[in-house]
């Protein structure tokens, strides 16, 4: 078996024509924003089913915006409406103040990764990208560049039919980056990727945002978004549940509990316990601290010479907060308790 080495792990450089340097604080400009306004998609049948209803949000450039929701929440449908693949029953979706189809060079405006396989399996990766590039007059050198960027150069001449799920995802991402787009829309990009690939995507998304691009990425995993995104749009059953930042979500959900193990529990509690910081303890020597971060606790302890045996941010509770928020809107909930 051959291992594909991904070049440029932390130094991803895209050919950036209009966004050469990262803007210090990203300045949201109307040009590159994704705007959904009362976006609604109804499917026929009895009873009629709303895949998405009255969804209003904006996605700003310069940050990674996570689009979260359980499976079946309407994430893919929303992305398809933004890209003009599905027509909204009501409402509008625009990119840079225009409907996607109205842009003269759509692939330069938005790069999209949709459901994993949007490729003819009989065509090679290289020919697939060339076919897309030809529509916009994108040079062959750019095709080679995105193949290199996604680590697919060695398999570019192979037919896609033989690709693993992860390679297919990489090809989809290569296609998304082909037009050097101002906005990147990725539907569940980490699906099927190994841990190395997940890390690669995470860094890729961050670097794209740092270049000033609008990055809109869907996931059903809160834990993944918590480390990738800065902003969150959370939906359930096609409705907006939250439009917030990751920091706010963590703070307000009380998910930022940090476990501290120290022999000086009493002293540390005295030093830290003042609003908004809350310290509780159920076992002697073990503190559950919320309302602050690990850095503050660590520095406070160090400043007073308090030894810490353990300082653990509780990530699992973030997932729990997300599940609390979306529990009522699960499409297919498993019932654990007997009826």
């Amino acid at each position: 078996m051959r291992v594909t080495v991904i070049p440029g792990y932390y130094t991803l450089h895209l050919i950036s024509r209009r966004r050469p340097t990262p803007p210090a604080p990203a300045r949201p400009t109307i040009e590159d924003m994704i705007t959904a306004s009362e976006l609604t998609k109804r499917y026929g049948g009895k009873p009629a089913k709303y895949a998405v209803s009255d969804l209003t949000f904006t996605v700003r450039p310069g940050t990674v915006t996570g689009f979260l929701g359980p499976n079946g929440a309407g994430k893919s449908t929303t992305m398809r409406m933004i890209l003009g693949l599905d027509a909204p029953t009501r409402g509008t979706a625009t990119v840079g103040n225009h409907a996607y189809a109205d842009h003269p060079a759509p692939l330069h405006e938005v790069g999209a990764l949709l459901e994993a396989r949007s490729v003819h399996p009989g065509r090679t990766a290289h020919h697939h990208l060339v076919a897309l590039a030809l529509t916009h007059g994108i040079p062959r050198s750019r095709v080679d560049h995105v193949l290199d960027l996604t680590g697919l150069t060695d398999v570019a001449g192979r037919r896609v039919k033989g690709f693993s799920l992860g390679m297919g995802q990489r090809l989809g991402i290569a296609a998304a980056l082909l037009g050097d787009p101002a906005t990147v829309i990725l539907d569940e990009p980490v699906n099927g990727l190994d841990p190395e690939g997940v890390l690669w995507i995470r860094n890729l998304l961050k670097s794209l945002a740092a270049e000033g691009r609008t990055v809109f990425v869907s996931s059903h995993l809160m834990s993944e978004m918590a480390v990738t995104a800065e902003h969150l749009i959370i939906i359930g059953r096609g409705r907006l549940l939250a439009d917030t930042t990751v920091d706010t979500f963590v703070r307000e959900s009380g998910a930022g509990t940090i476990k501290v193990v120290t022999p000086e529990a009493g002293l540390l509690t005295q030093l830290l316990a003042a609003p908004p910081v809350d310290v509780t303890s159920s076992t002697p020597g073990i503190l559950e601290i919320s309302g602050t971060d690990a850095e503050h606790i660590g520095r406070t302890a160090a400043a007073h010479g308090i030894p810490l045996f353990e300082l653990t941010p509780h990530a699992a509770s973030l997932e729990e907060a997300f599940m609390d928020l979306t529990r009522d809107s699960l499409e297919y909930a498993a019932h654990l308790e007997p009826a």
Partner: protein, 257 residues
């Protein structure tokens, strides 16, 4: 660097590239060509005047007998070019790149026309020339320079190209390779024969203007009461093609991808 933008010429190039970068295109065009030429040579080589059913057949139609089958292969190439995209999911990539959608259909129609017309005309010229080597001195002896021969070959080519375009339209309408092929075989080759079964003259006359029969009529050098005349046959084929592709375009624009 040139400006990045969608243009009709670029979309056409993209569709051209797509057609030639899947194996099925090469395999089926080769199969259609080999079959037409092979059948033409085989029946010419074994032809004996005044024997068998074929002696009454029009001399050009006789040589192009292989098209009975290869017209279906050519239509399948066209069906695959669009319905294959729905089957594989490629259509999402295509329609994200060209969100106005219609230029994709027109480009596919352009590419199918160019490829099928060129390949078929070349095949027919080879079939005719090779077949005639065996037909010296028979009642089916013809020369390319005989009046009407070249015109009939070009007309036959146009007929097969129309059928392929109808295949493209059916593939776009049904978004399924098996559906498109079934509709083509059923609608183009079976339905007119079914109509002729009825003992009513009007249905027999109508059947002459169905795509398959009209295209078959274009292959005859001499006018026959079995087929519509060249002009009306070409008109009928044009109308069928326009109507089916037009409906496909309308629905492509309206339906979700």
């Amino acid at each position: 660097m040139t400006t990045l933008a969608l243009t009709p010429a670029r979309i056409l190039r993209s569709e051209w590239h797509k057609l030639w970068t899947v194996r099925s295109t090469w395999i089926m065009l080769t199969a259609a060509t080999v079959f037409t030429i092979g059948v033409g040579i085989a029946i010419s080589a074994s032809y004996e005047q005044d024997r068998g059913e074929v002696s009454g057949v029009d001399p050009v139609q006789f040589l192009l007998f292989g098209t009975q089958f290869s017209q279906i292969i050519l239509a399948v190439v066209a069906v695959l070019s669009i319905a294959g995209e729905y089957g594989t999911g490629m259509v999402r990539s295509t329609m994200v790149a060209v969100p106005r959608r219609l230029p994709v259909l027109w480009s596919k129609a352009g590419v199918v026309t160019a490829v099928v017309f060129t390949a078929t005309l070349a095949t027919f010229l080879v079939t005719f020339t090779a077949g005639q080597l065996f037909l010296d001195g028979t009642d089916k002896e013809l020369s390319l320079t005989d009046p009407g021969v070249l015109g009939t070959l070009v007309g036959s080519t146009a007929g097969l190209t129309s059928l392929a375009l109808i295949g493209l339209g059916l593939g776009a309408l049904l978004r399924s390779v098996p559906g498109g092929i079934t509709a083509f075989i059923g609608g183009v080759t079976v339905l007119p024969e079914v109509l002729r079964m009825f003992p009513y003259d009007v249905m027999d006359s109508a059947a002459k203007y169905f795509p398959g029969r009209a295209a078959e009529g274009l292959m005859t050098l001499h006018d026959s009461s079995d087929y519509a005349a060249t002009g009306p046959a070409l008109l009928a084929l044009t109308l069928w093609t326009t109507a089916i592709l037009g409906t496909a375009g309308l629905l492509l624009k309206r339906r979700d991808v």
